[in-house]
Amino acid sequence: MIRFVARKELTELVRDGRFHWTGIILALLLITALATGWQRYASYQDLQSSAQATSNTQWLKQGDKNPHSAAHYGNYAFKPAGPLSYFDSGVEAYTGTAVFMEAHKQNFALARPASDLNAVARFGDLTGAFILQVLVPLIIIFLGFTAFSGERDSGTLRQLLSMGVRRRDILWGKAIGIGAGVALIVVPCLVLGALALSLAELNTSAGFMARMSVLVSTYGAYAAIFLFLTLAVSAWAKSGRHALIALVGFWAFTAFIAPKAVTEISKAVCPTPAYGEFMADMRTMQAKGFDGVSPWRRIQEMQAELYQEYGVNSVAELPVYWPATRMQKLEELDHDVFDYHYNNLRQAYTDQRRLQDSFGVIAPILSLRSVSMAMSGTDLITHIEFMNATESYRRNMVAKMNGYLSKAAASLNDSFSSSNYMTADEEVFAIVPPFEFDQPTVGQALGEHTRNFVILTIWLAFAVTASVAAVDRLSTEAR
């Protein structure tokens, strides 16, 4: 029975002019989005890897100089694109793409693509994810809002029910029919995209399949939520027109109003400082010392400890190069300050995002987009992981250079003069390995999103229950 209803529904859909037009438009948009996404991804990856290689060479070929100066010269980390960023560009346009790693300073990422984009880019990015998150639900609504209301308006519902068909069978049949209709448009495009990818021999990376399967099932659940909501409202509403208004209203709310409104709320609940405030606070703390003891006092204490350790009484007698040891100590004193400020900031960002996810309870797109970004490697957490990786790299680089200087230049302790200083060459710089960043694994990325999966599951259960309830009390006449 379900089979017949589904087949009738699909036949009706496929013969409908609306279906052809929306199908063609959606398919064109999806292909455009995937193609441009892919093109951007590929050219970004080229640029990123060549920039990283150049910067690594620049580090080595910076010329013979004092190792600490080399640390000042520093290196750049360029952020690699997320493994599926051609599908979901996530926050990539709004995070920096380059981090300057230098002595004494922990820096923000530079070069946000968004600053180089026209304001029109703020309308949104036409990506595969955008289409599946925003346009596909609308298509489902367009194709499905008449499912019951239309049959009632045209009187065929009386016929159908007089045949003794079970109501729920009609529901399942219609769900399958409309679902198949939507799949008919979307799946070929995605398969085409996947085929092109495998031909390009990319994304054979570990975890690719896992990421894909999480994405497919999450988006599938999301589409099912909209499908059953549409059927529920269609059975519930007085007329097709009312169903359409209610559904489009809900769609506009979830797709456009809720994300922005929730963003503003999260900003008010977990406020974050602006650049000027952040820097002023951090530099004030640097000057005062993390625990209120000034760095200069700390250095004096440390000097005394060193004298004691080596049983000496003056800098000249120390077996380590004092200026380098001192600089490393100053560097380490700053670590606490940096950690405190940057971690607080990132924690606030993460809290904001988690709060936004929780609002998925009223707009499922909020939960979905977080999962989608995480699986595409373009989310906030990936960015924070990247920033943490650059900071560890920076600390290691500075420590290695200061450490080398501290040992190698110990004999220079007693003589500051322009003719007597230490230079190092490429071989020494090479003790710092090139920067590498490993994307968080799928497991790590998933751990953050339990709440989102729970929310989406609740939505799906709610939508199915609502549609069953609506169909059970379906009446042939407008209420």
């Binding site: 609306r18 093109q39 100066s69 600053s115 703020r122």
Partner: protein, 492 residues
Amino acid sequence: MYALIISHEARSLARTSMLSVLLTVLACAIAFAAWSGRNMIDRQMQGADAAIAFEAGMRDAMRADVIKYEQKIEDEGGEVQFATINHAPGSGPPQGTNAGAVGAETAAYAVLPPTGLAALSIGQSDISLSYVPVNMRNIVDVTRYSEIENPVNLATGAFDISFVIIFLLPIFILALTYGVLSSEKEQGTLAMIMAHPISLRELMTCKLITRFMILLGVVAVAGLASTLAVGTQLDNPETWMRFGFWAGACLLYGMFWFFLAVFVNAMGKSSATNGLILAGSWLLFVVIVPTLVSIVATTLYPAPSRMDLVTASREAQTEASFQYMKALDEFYYDHLELVPNAEDKARDFLTLSIANSEAIEKEVRPLYDQFQSQLNRQEGLVQQYQYLSPAIMMQQALNEVSGTSADRYEDFMGQVFDFHKEWKDYFAVRFLSKDPLVSADYDRFPEFEYRPESLSDVIARLSPALIGLFGVMILAGVAAFVRLRSYQVAAR
């Protein structure tokens, strides 16, 4: 006649529950948007204040040292000396007398003041930093600062009044208008009315005026009330001018959507079909066309990679240091506190550092300009394609009116560059001529003073979008009323 129909329409609308719901939602959205826009501006101002206060503190500390030193010279006799660069605390003239040190270690903030309407349209102001620290570092370093904000929030975009106007207002307009004729026809009252001496155009005009006035009332009252409530100053004639343009743009945009709805109604389809067509048009104009235009602009004129700019400016830096400095010099350049009492040497380092930064700037400036010109080309393309969607024109117009557009920022950065040069010149001359700074000099440091753009510049940039909006509004209006002529009151 007009008054009769309008009052009848108003009464009929008032008796539907939908109207009050719609209007309440709209008023709430406007109030919420005003609140969040104000939060945004407050956060930026707070950032600017904190940064400026911090720098002032640094400078005051230096000045205090100089005053103390001057007091000592007065008491003990002698001459005010030019300090050697030396970070370590000790005796002798303080750092604050050395113009090179002061110019490099403290920064002056160039602040782009928000216009009176900035809270209405956040535009690009959540990305670009509106308070730029200027010191003696090279100019490309000056451009690398940006405002910090959660990237998730940036990607979602702000819930500001512009969003309400561009995205939501059309939805409310269409909700009130999608069945303006079709529902009367379905309800059967259209034939009853048309049996009376009134033309369809008159009827439609009245219906439009009613809906227009209702929405206008809500937008104007809620908008003005919430703008005032969050403290937008309206005491400035320029603000009023800007507000006038803002209101004008909103009127044109709103009328476009009304006429579009009339046009679709004039095709004589059912209300449900009209609803579908209009929802589709909204999606097309507000979502799809803008994202496509954005894709076209970035594909045709991709911004040269910032990553390339980074590596290239680094290359220039390496080159410059090979040419101008020995490795030792560089070491001391980074750590002037380590230089033993060799005054002349120290002065040389700063001289070199100034020369070095000039050299880097010379190398990198063309790259930076190339960057900027590519962005301008992108901008030009968007300017051309904006006519494809009233939403794009509206966005450009609102950002321009609110002073949160890329153009205004570019003008500001031009002023920052000028100021950077002024700052560098002031301190470099004092430094190179070994002229010690005295405490009174601290009040005479160059200060950035923002030169507001002339209103005619703003209007010139605004006019393409406004003219375009006017054009599409007229087009939609004429098409709608022409189409209405062939409208069939009676079904066949």
